[in-house]
Symmetry: C2
Subunit: 203 residues, 2 copies
């Protein structure tokens, strides 16, 4: 099989797939909230299957993985938190300071619901895991989560959120990170502590 | 606005929406893994937008919430872990014993990836949060996560997984639950402890 298009020409692939992913993200939301009449839902279903058949005409085996572009920059496009081709991802746009501090603003709507009107506690954990983990990234290498503890101090309402994380201390390959999730009103809704481990290849 | 169809006739709505959700789930996967030619991707994109327009012809405001059927049974169809209308949800099919023990078998593919070939640590947390939380459910009422701690003991490879949780002890409105995630080979990949709190209305 020839090189996947996304490796051969990342800019072209991003222009092709990022808007598609945004449309699929919208479709996920509408599949939950639609109250269209039966006929419209059935027609929509057929269109989704047609779209899947087109996309499925050629498929990479396995998962997307973390491919690199020609310059060696990682392209984690399938990643469930940040992947530009993953419609599950909000996606998180994590900003990382030179001192390792990481921040992400995001909006979570109906597809991320747990208790009525609230973000699922597990989704809060997913966001915090990723943003705390980002503090431990060195030279674009992934850090694996060792331990993660989340304290849910008040409901996290669906809407605009901010996740913030910073390094408490580093010991060898381990980064001890702390952080929190801020709700739409700016109050802390969940606090997190995590230990993240860089594999040997990344040190 | 009249009652949403999903409340008026749950069986009818499930027959309509569950297969659609499965198709959208497949579309999410293919949007990540497709290597179709540009023209096929652009045509798929147009079909997705057409499907979204049909579903969007009538939309419930806000999130799905937890609606109830005529018999008062909860329908958490939008839930990000178990919702039959949420294409993000694997979905988890949680079995709960009379003693509160909860189990779920699931298959996680490309859309749940973090490190290459592995389930994202945050997705492990989402699954464990939900299954541990299920031990604390009384009379179908949601229990809110108070604290959740996950220890990642080895990589969780994408594939067939099992989540198991049981009650360590209960104190008033609090359930102290423990559990783990088992990888495709049956080894424990992540261990979890959680405190789940039932709201006053559920006691």
């Amino acid at each position: 099989m020839s090189d996947p298009i996304s490796v051969a020409d990342p800019e072209h692939a991003r222009a092709l797939y990022e808007p598609l992913t945004q449309s699929v993200r919208r479709l996920v939301d509408l599949t939950i909230r639609s109250e269209a009449d039966d006929d419209a839902v059935r027609r929509a279903h057929r269109l989704v299957d047609e779209a899947a058949a087109l996309l499925g005409s050629r498929v990479a085996p396995g998962s997307f993985g973390i491919r690199s572009d020609a310059a060696g920059r990682p392209m984690p496009w399938g990643n469930v938190a940040i992947g530009v081709r993953n419609a599950i991802a909000p996606p998180l746009d994590v900003h990382r300071d030179s001192d390792g501090r990481a921040t992400a603003d995001l909006v979570l709507g109906a597809p991320y619901e747990g208790p009525p009107g609230q973000v699922h506690g597990g989704v809060c954990a997913l966001v915090l895991d990723h943003v705390l983990g980002a503090t431990a990234h060195h030279r674009h290498q992934t850090a694996f989560t060792g331990t993660l503890t989340i304290r849910y101090v008040r409901p996290t309402w669906l809407g605009a959120l901010r996740a913030e994380a910073w390094i408490d201390r580093e010991e060898g390959s381990k980064t001890y990170a702390v952080g929190h999730l801020l709700g739409p009103d700016g109050e802390v809704t969940a606090q997190a502590e995590g230990v993240f481990i860089r594999p040997r290849s990344a040190r």
